[in-house]
Symmetry: C2
Subunit: 144 residues, 2 copies
């Protein structure tokens, strides 16, 4: 069980975070990403395609091609990535899986849960990835 986000989405988050740590203007190839992150090559390829189509990344084909952020890192949040890959229905849904239920006749956990959902949302939008990159310590992420 992957928690909250699909595996695809996790990979996407990791990849974008990695890109954010590379010097501005450089391209990073899928191959590079795949070895650094240890995720399956072709699968990541598809994910990068999605992110590119959504306009979060730009890609360059051909020799010495690769991917880079399409926007300044300070204009991207984790939310954008989750939105592009998994969608953001979770902001509305019930943890217990009850359909058509939200707040009128609340069950005993609704308040707690509604707050939690808010927290997840906060976590996703609070920091842009420029800030995140600055604060991230993972040495294996730095350009070698």
């Amino acid at each position: 069980m992957s928690i909250i986000f699909s595996r695809q989405c996790e990979y996407a988050l990791q990849a974008v975070l990695y890109l954010a740590l590379q010097p501005r203007g450089t391209l990073t190839s899928s191959k590079d990403l795949t070895t650094r992150l240890g995720v399956p090559y072709h699968f990541l390829g598809k994910i990068m395609q999605s992110l590119t189509r959504k306009g979060l990344l730009r890609s360059q084909k051909g020799s010495s091609g690769g991917f880079a952020l399409a926007l300044p890192p300070k204009d991207i949040t984790l939310f954008h990535i989750v939105e592009a890959i998994d969608g953001v229905d979770f902001t509305k849904k019930c943890v217990l899986g009850f359909p058509e239920c939200s707040g009128k006749n609340p069950c005993a956990v609704h308040h707690q849960w509604a707050g939690l959902r808010e927290n997840i949302y906060e976590m996703l939008v609070r920091k842009n990835i420029a800030e995140m990159a600055k604060e991230t310590k993972k040495p294996e992420f730095r350009a070698r």
Copy 2:
């Protein structure tokens, strides 16, 4: 995407909550559960079996048989159910899906995330289902 818990687990939570609302000592059949909750009959059957094997429910075969809680409602929390169905690895895992990473060299969201995980855990253990049943308003859950 089902949020946090698998669909199985959601059904399990719903079913146990329903059972908690039935008068103590009565048995509820799968058929009854399935129509009240609107979930697939046989699938639910299997889930009930699991919960029974784990000792959370007791079952009675035969005519006028069914399921009931195996423990007093005040001794059961949502955590027990999640534990039985999905497992509780999520209490340790990283939202971003990074393996082998937890707190040393924390990334920029680790603190927020760790708190969030704690909140989810809290939500699951805070109330026992006796309290929840008392506070739950869902009229379609009451015995007719």
